[in-house]
């Protein structure tokens, strides 16, 4: 092991730290090291879901107010779109950044799959939005545009969560994906501006429930 350096003499001396441990001491070491590993390797999923849930509530909520009955303020609508885009980008970048940082020095099939899954998000969004742009180019009626783009974002999100649930064998993730798809369908039937209200309230509620569940699991693991 070339990178173990020339410290083997030091290492031999350190075998002295093989003092017999009591079961209590051993268990304390297990708990301490496990806690350190969790902190260093685990992504704070609860926090990510909380951020996305807040983004949906604020972003789609502002969009609802902008497109509310009898008014359509383009400035407010753009602000809402920017809030959603920025908040989702922050959450995605935070998730990607956390995962990359925590995956430093680790290689193998499961980490490769994790990285591929994370990169699938921007790819899926890009594909969905490109299809929307194509529809508009083909002459989609303008009144349907505020229905299509948020619906695409939510639908892609739901499908990615469903895939993530399968991939991670995570029932919370899977259930959230199914819920988001249901909410997306409901938002389409609600029409404009009701679609924004459905996405803001029912969509963010799903994320907030997931946040609560993940936070509880995290707390139980710490205890």
């Amino acid at each position: 092991m070339s990178d173990r350096g020339s410290a083997s003499a030091e290492g031999s001396a350190r075998l002295a730290d093989e003092e017999p441990l009591s079961p209590q001491e051993a268990l304390a070491i297990v708990a301490d090291q496990q806690h350190a590993v969790d902190r260093s390797l685990q992504v704070n999923v609860a926090l990510m879901h909380g951020v996305i849930g807040a983004a949906w509530l604020i972003g789609f909520g502002v969009a609802y107010l902008a497109f509310g009955p009898g008014k359509a303020d383009p400035a407010v609508a753009w602000t809402a779109a920017a809030v959603i885009a920025v908040a989702n980008a922050i959450a995605a970048a935070a998730g990607l950044g956390q995962t990359m940082r925590r995956g430093r020095g680790i290689e193998g099939r499961s980490w490769d799959a994790m990285r591929m899954y994370l990169w699938a998000w921007p790819v899926a969004f890009a594909g969905g939005y490109a299809a929307d742009a194509g529809l508009q180019y083909q002459g989609l009626p303008e009144r349907l545009v505020p229905l299509l783009w948020p619906g695409t974002a939510a639908g892609v999100c739901g499908l990615m969560y469903l895939a993530g649930g399968l991939f991670f064998r995570d029932k919370i993730h899977y259930a959230l994906g199914a819920w988001i798809l249901l909410v997306t369908a409901a938002s389409m039937f609600a029409g404009v501006p009701g679609n924004f209200a459905v996405l803001a309230l029912a969509g963010s509620a799903g994320f907030l429930v997931a946040t609560w569940r993940y936070a509880r699991i995290r707390k139980q693991a710490r205890d």
């Binding site: 173990r4 083997s8 030091e10 290492g11 441990l21 079961p23 209590q24 350190a36 590993v37 390797l41």
Partner: protein
Amino acid sequence: MSAEDLLPGLDPVIHAQPRLRITIVLAAIGEDDKMTFPRLQELTGMTAGNLATHLRKLEDAGYVAVTKSFRRRSPVTYLALTRPGRRALEDYTAALQRLLAVPGSGPNGSGPNGAPDSDPP
């Protein structure tokens, strides 16, 4: 008195603070994954020499697999817990919990390694 004499049933290869920490860290990554030496050092908080020495013991016991390769022309050492290593850690923590569940001798004369009285037969 060795660790094994003091607590029979606990794997002496794992029953030492540094090796216990190493196996816990390596068990936290997937079975098909491996970790570089510097990252393992960072996560265990051990010096390079100390880590290398204890890794050698774990490798000799067949609990850790060491692979070497090159990344951008630099040598990299990867460590992974083997299947027997993973099993050994699971057995070790289970034995530890049994020991703590039955402090001292039980009413039926079961020793410190005996199963808790409430355990199913």
